[in-house]
Amino acid sequence: MKRFIVKRLAYALVSLFLLSLTIFLFVRLTGDPAVLLVEPGASKDDLAAIHAQLGLDRPLWVQYGQFMSSLLRGDLGNSFYYRTPVLDLYLSRLPYSLLLAAAAMVFSLLVGIPSGILAAVRVNRWWDSVGKLFALLGLSLPSFWVGLVMILFFSVYLGWLPSSGSGSALHVIMPAFALGWYFAAAHMRLTRSSMLEVLGSEYVKLARLKGLPEALVIAKHAFKNALIPVLTLAGINLVIMVNVAVVVETVFAWPGVGRLLYEGIAFRDFPVVQATVLMGGAMIVVVNFFVDILYAVIDPRIRYER
């Protein structure tokens, strides 16, 4: 088990390294990085000053060293627009994104898991077709469009829900739905196939041979086993949600890190953009690492693989 953890840790560290390297290289190698790293509307002299200050004429690996050392010190630069350290800005917005992601996740699981189970149990019958349609729509309807249409319906026409901001519980309903919609379809798909696999297993066969009522077979034997891969995916998806929420947060003016990214783009506040992407990617790598470990704890066979 220890070997497994060490291996996974090494893997995660390499990924983090490559992530930072990718971001670093893209900035430095496409045109003049000073343009990005300086406030919009700067003059030629400012640009030259920045060149010297940031050491942009030094060899690449030296620059990378500087980049990494400031990263590790927690210095992600300062926002041009807000004039505060980006890290502080990011951390102050993160809880909102986590809240939205959690709400969206709850929604997607509440909808996805039962419909996936029903689709598997009633495979190839009516409910399965409904499920397939739902899955397809989930993939094809962009989340932000779903959000916009919902605003049209529930805010403009019906006036039931607020269209933007984050004041109350009502504010989170529509964004959570718009964000969770795609994932509900994905979770439904996975639940269905996982359930089908479990329903074909030997222990379910034996449970039926024992003469147990079908409801018990499904609820007890099939359900728990089928849920394992789904919950693992859900864990990873939570972090992904935080990242892709940028459009939904923009539509609903929800003050999370996604909206922060949008502001960074709109105001040409590059340190914010860079930091948000970096943090987003890093979170995913970290969560993936923990989920791998968790999976190995649940299923002893995984520890001895690879």
Binding site: L18, V27, P142, L148, V156, N243, V277, N288
Partner: protein
């Protein structure tokens, strides 16, 4: 059986598969219609999509009160005809979508073949990069790249290609790994063919199937991502008519109830993506049962 004969048999089978029942007529018709609309946009669109008459702003569609036959689907916030913008938007979506898919496909297939066939450190490097890029959500990555290089139609295609090639590389590499062990490849090695020749003549034709299936599946994803990028303002730059951009503009009129600026472009996106997904799904099942777990 050498690689090219295998490949031509595959091609024949590919088209014979199209004659099988279950062929998704509606999605194909929809996609073809959109393609035709895109090609003949100049002829079909009643107005110039980029120029508007300010006095004519926010006209609703013809069937609603206040609408007129002159603008069947209404006008937007600067008086441009919505129908024309939708028509030209099809062109943008098709061009960007297809080109990005092809760019990603070529890049991903080539790297996948190299990675799978050559193995060793080439494989390791490509795989590590692929895993890292796959870990970062495509949208975030694309936004980042767009912020770095600046938005333009050309840049978007490159960015989307750069973000999505990893999906191809993974799958193609897996196929190449199993192809490597097949007899006709081994025969070629024994016969003294160079690695380059083998990859080109034997491996490549056999992975084309998967590449095409992946391409159809990716088309939908790429279009949604492009729409998202345009919506955020880092995609296709104004005043060019892109459906995503129309959604961003539409948001301005949303609270006032100007529904057609939001619903109509979204419907177009949905139709195109849905059709591409259905077609891709059908292709996947018909052409290569091994890809069913995609």
């Amino acid at each position: 059986m050498n690689g090219s004969r295998a490949a031509s048999l595959t091609v024949a089978w590919r088209f014979s598969a199209l004659r099988v029942e279950g062929f998704p007529w509606i999605p194909t018709i929809i996609l073809s219609t959109i393609a035709l609309v895109a090609i003949f946009a100049n002829v079909l669109a009643p107005y110039n999509p980029e120029v508007g008459v300010l006095g004519d702003r926010f006209r609703p569609p013809a069937w609603q009160a206040g609408g007129s036959e002159a603008h069947l689907l209404g006008t937007d916030h600067v008086g441009r005809d919505v129908l024309s913008r939708l028509i030209f938007g099809a062109r943008v979506s098709m061009v960007v979508g297809f080109t990005a898919v092809i760019v990603a496909g070529i890049l991903g297939t080539v790297l996948g073949i190299l990675s799978g066939y050559l193995g060793g450190w080439v494989d390791q490097v490509i795989m590590r990069v692929t895993d890292t890029w796959l870990a970062l959500p495509a949208l975030t990555f694309a936004i980042f790249l767009a912020a770095v290089v600046g938005p333009s139609e050309m840049n978007i295609v490159i960015i989307l290609g750069a973000v999505y090639w990893t999906r191809y590389a993974r799958v193609i590499r897996g196929e190449v790994l199993s192809l490597r062990e097949r007899d006709f490849v081994r025969l070629a090695i024994v016969a003294g063919c160079s690695k380059k020749t083998i990859m080109r003549r034997h491996i490549l034709p056999n992975v084309l199937n998967s590449a095409i299936v992946l391409g159809t599946l990716m088309l939908g994803v790429v279009i949604v991502t492009e729409a998202a990028l345009s919506f955020l303002g880092v995609g296709v730059p104004p005043p060019k008519p892109a459906w995503g951009l129309m959604l961003a503009d539409g948001k301005k009129g949303l609270m006032a109830g100007y529904w057609w600026l939001t619903v109509l472009p979204g419907l177009c996106i949905m139709l195109m993506v849905l059709s591409a997904n259905l077609l891709g799904d059908w292709l996947r099942v018909k052409l290569d049962p091994q890809l069913r777990q995609l």
